[in-house]
Amino acid sequence: MNSSQWTTRADNRALRLARAATALGTRLTGKLVATDAIDVLLDAVLEPGDRVCLEGNNQKQADFLAQALVRVDPQRIHHLHMVQSVLALPEHLDIFENGVASRLDFSFSGPQGARLAKLVSAGRIEIGAIHTYLELFARYFVDLTPKVALVAAHAADAQGNLYTGPNTEDTPAIVEATAFSGGIVIAQVNELVDGTTTTLPRIDIPADWIGFVVKAPRPNFIEPLFTRDPAQISEIQVLMAMMAIKGIYGEYGVQRLNHGIGFDTAAIELLLPTYGESLGLKGKIGKHWALNPHPALIPAIEAGWVESIHSFGSELGMEEYIRARSDVFFTGPDGSLRSNRAFCQAAGHYACDMFIGSTLQIDLDGNSSTATLGRIAGFGGAPNMGADARGRRHASEAWLKAGREARAGRSGAAGTPRGQKLVVQMVETFREHMQPAFVDRLDAWTLQEQAGMALPPIMIYGDDVSHILTEEGIANLLMCRSDAEREQAIRGVAGYTAVGLGRDKRAVENLRDRGVIRRPQDLGIDPRQATRNLLAARSMRDLVRASGGLYQPPRRFRNW
């Protein structure tokens, strides 16, 4: 057998690198490509049909490289297969409109969801699958390995070492999959250092994994996605947060957890040092977090509640605060945050006892989804956070208690002792404009028909949900023993929605007697006590004050 047949990937990489060197000439110095030669570089490196990972996640964007990719000649480079976490920028879809790319595998398309749905129905995009982040990263190492990766970092040195800064996010997973499989990594950076008179604060990605570095004319875009202004938290959200803390966190002794992105969970974060303290729960709940650096957690951190936080990404404005609280956050020798989406997703899935977050729709089986008609959005990390980790084997108090509740009275395989993750869906029964959160049928089913998907896009499956929390009460689905019981438990907290009004009142009262449904008064909570005065911070300014001036919110969150 000819041995050269076993090195086609390496040979192809060498060919592409040589092509780039020839095309760039003096505009290539080591691995450094002149900014104005980016089009030449992409033209030389890319081949039709390449699988390309364009770093776009929910915060950091390789925006300069995305713009350059839109400009390549579709006569020469076409049928690219894009694999990327998030479709956030218009350019991410422009490349499908202009014929450069044709196939897409991704996780989340929040801002571009409506346009994506149109392009799919017009036959301009073929979607491979919609993944969770962790699932997509996993496939980078199996059958969706990128041939070319276009990534973003904060700075590079003359050798091509990269400093990602606090927003490391997806970069290590993407680069590792590409660099060790004969692929080529191209990094855009905000700054260049020479490595002698100026050096990188730390090295996040070593130079020999990198093919080319190009300085972008503007710093890469970062979205402050996890900043919630406490001024917008309502009394009802305070009430629900009180119920969560007393009825779930305290009840199960939840020490390791992940929070969703919304105002509901921001309210919980802001109630820990006030209401949580008054319940004597400090030290008993909320010590370890898989969480982005939420500004709303500052008061709890300052009050000594939090021992550790590992983060998927960073959050704009939190840099100096994180640096000054290195006992809590994962930081490098330079003092700045090191985030890592892949590791944090794994942490949230395997090492957390609870996920609590919100959704747009919940059905009578407890299935929930944020998918809405006319949009193809995906769910990012939520399905991994909000799912029982079937491979988990280590025990904790909260996990064991949830497992006991789910298995009590069952026999055989269903009764074999094991723990279970707490997966809490926290919703007001009506969203704004009186849209009911509880529905007989998820929009996901119609979306499946419209888009020809193999499955309805359900974010969190009902059999993974342990609790549904609304302003009316907490439904403990772990304790339900039949579909009919589960349905009444859900109706019993669905308030004045059609689903809630359709309850069997006797069955619901029976569930309440058994503790499957618990009302605020059953928890010893008077809704009239739920005022915004309980929030440890009631404004962005309060958060800044709580941080000792270290937190510097982006301008749009400042009104002073």
């Binding site: 309502s234 009394e235 009802i236 009430l239 007001e428 029964t429 009506f430 704004e432 404009h433 009186m434 302003e471 009316e472 308030g495 004045y496 009004l501 809704p527 009239r528 739920a530």
Partner: protein
């Protein structure tokens, strides 16, 4: 708001058989603002409990009926006129404001 027709809707509900509250100075809680409401309780002759709702969100009569029914079940009060100015509050906020208003009644109301 596309699914909510513009213009105010007025709804009236009445209940009887409640415990008379007696004379009391008017009680006002809440504010008229988006997603919020104002609730005023006034003493009235007789033992009835009359509820008048002026709401910017049309078409939710059955939900208001259910919210009012549950309110009266929680607080069976009589000799009271309840006026509600609503700017699209959710039922949860409406119930909370009603409970807050009743808590302001002299010597505590039946609850």
């Amino acid at each position: 708001m596309s699914d909510i027709p513009a213009g105010l809707e007025t709804l009236d509900f009445s209940f009887s058989g409640g415990r008379p509250v007696g004379a009391f100075p008017p009680v006002l809680v809440g504010v008229v603002g988006s997603g919020n409401l104002e609730v005023m309780l006034e003493a009235s002759a007789g033992d009835g409990c009359a509820v008048r709702v002026e709401t910017s969100a049309r078409g939710f009569g059955p939900i208001w009926q259910a919210v009012a029914d549950d309110f009266f079940a929680r607080h069976p009060i009589g000799g009271v006129r309840i006026s509600i100015n609503d700017m699209g509050a959710t039922p949860a906020v409406v119930s909370l404001r009603l409970d807050q208003a009743v808590a302001e009644l002299p010597q505590g109301a039946p609850s």
